[in-house]
Amino acid sequence: MNDRNRIPIIITIMVILLIMVIGFTSQQRERLTPVEKWIGDFFMPFQRIVSQGYYGVEDQIRTLIRSSEIKQENEMLKEELHHYQSELIEAKLNREELMELKNLQQTLNSIDRSGFSEPITANVIANNSGNWFQMFTVDAGERKGVGVNSVVIGSGGLIGRVYETGNTWAKVISIIDNSSSVSFRVLRDGDLQGIVSGSVDNELSGYLFDPDAEIIVGDQLITSGIGLYPRGILIGGITDISTSADQLLQNIEVEPAVNFNRMNKVMIINPKIYEE
């Protein structure tokens, strides 16, 4: 048997082996193999350099093109800042009250409920969004304390969760990915709850549990705290409402608060510390 005739047989065996590998890796894994971690660690610094370079250059160009707009934006931001400062004072007062209550609770139960862990900041270093999945890579991994299912938040709101981690990097699934679903409540009225999911065409849509719930276009949605994501993270605003044919569900289309095409810095919260 000569070499050329053997190739199709080897290819067939490899195809079967690879189909098995696909089967094994199709579900989320708690731990990656060392080889996957090494390869990721090796690529990470290069991806970071290229990404940071790209963002840097893009920012410069943007600034040049939009200098007049930026001036206007500056004025607007200043006004907003005044507004937020007054709100901050109010919030601080509320927080003091809360702290007092927490202290009371601790003395009563002696359980530590410190809430959020210190958030980990990270840069987006690669966008892995192929045609099927919406994922990206960040430059913080197990060494910085990022774990599987850590929650990722961007400047505007909820981004997603960590899917797998290497030593110095982590892959994140966006909430617009088709395997993602988030339980939400309407910010205006916390009793109105439902679920939004991503889809292959990168749109966020969902439904409310209550078919008679009174919602309007423009209502803001926040995470409800049921499931993986902690309560109170902004998801986005409702852009369209429709009732399903059987009148049993109110379907909504949601515009995410985060622009998934332009993410640079993200924050990661570890749910393991959050839970207890």
Binding site: M14, T25, G40, A126, N127, S199, D201
Partner: protein, 165 residues
């Protein structure tokens, strides 16, 4: 020297594909440069090496950008093998070669991914998939493939690589 150079081409392609090219303003439509390189190499090296190169490149790509390990390894290996086989049997060298081969390879690649994703139980909008993936992605890849093919052709047939083998 030769292997190092060719390996670094793939390395460079994968970095660019996952960073720079995916930030360009075609959201979630990224030219599959690594697959195009596999095709170029398979056209030069025939099916055995084409399959080996495709398998290796696909496996590494799966690990750095993919969610499921094995899909690119499987499809790139098949692409490397089939393109290499095509090259040995019926080779015509002109601009339509990379265009047609890349278009066909993209359809094969996305179809296998489609089946895998479907079997994993993810919801799929079929019309959307047909439109965006089979139409836009195929044309985008095929257009990008033509210049890459001619550059790679120059490099692979150049004196500098031949001598140092």
């Amino acid at each position: 020297m030769r292997r190092l150079f060719l390996g670094s081409l793939f390395f460079f392609s994968m970095i660019i594909e996952s960073t720079f090219l995916s930030y360009l303003p075609f959201p979630s439509l990224v030219p599959n440069t690594t697959m195009i390189l596999v095709i170029c190499f398979a056209l030069y090296y025939e099916e055995k090496n084409g399959a080996i190169i495709g398998f290796t490149a696909g496996l590494i790509k799966d690990m750095i950008v993919g969610r499921v390990v094995g899909i690119s390894a499987l499809t790139f290996m098949l692409i490397g093998f089939l393109v290499g086989y095509y090259n040995r049997k019926v080779f015509v060298e002109n601009a339509t070669t990379p265009f047609v081969l890349t278009a066909a390879s993209t359809i094969l690649h996305e179809s296998i991914a489609f089946v895998a994703v479907f079997l994993m139980g993810y919801p799929i909008h079929v019309t959307m998939a047909l439109n965006r993936i089979y139409l836009y992605q195929t044309i985008y890849n095929a257009l990008v493939a033509v210049p890459i093919y001619f550059i790679m052709n120059q490099i692979l047939h150049s004196h500098f690589l031949k001598k140092s083998y």
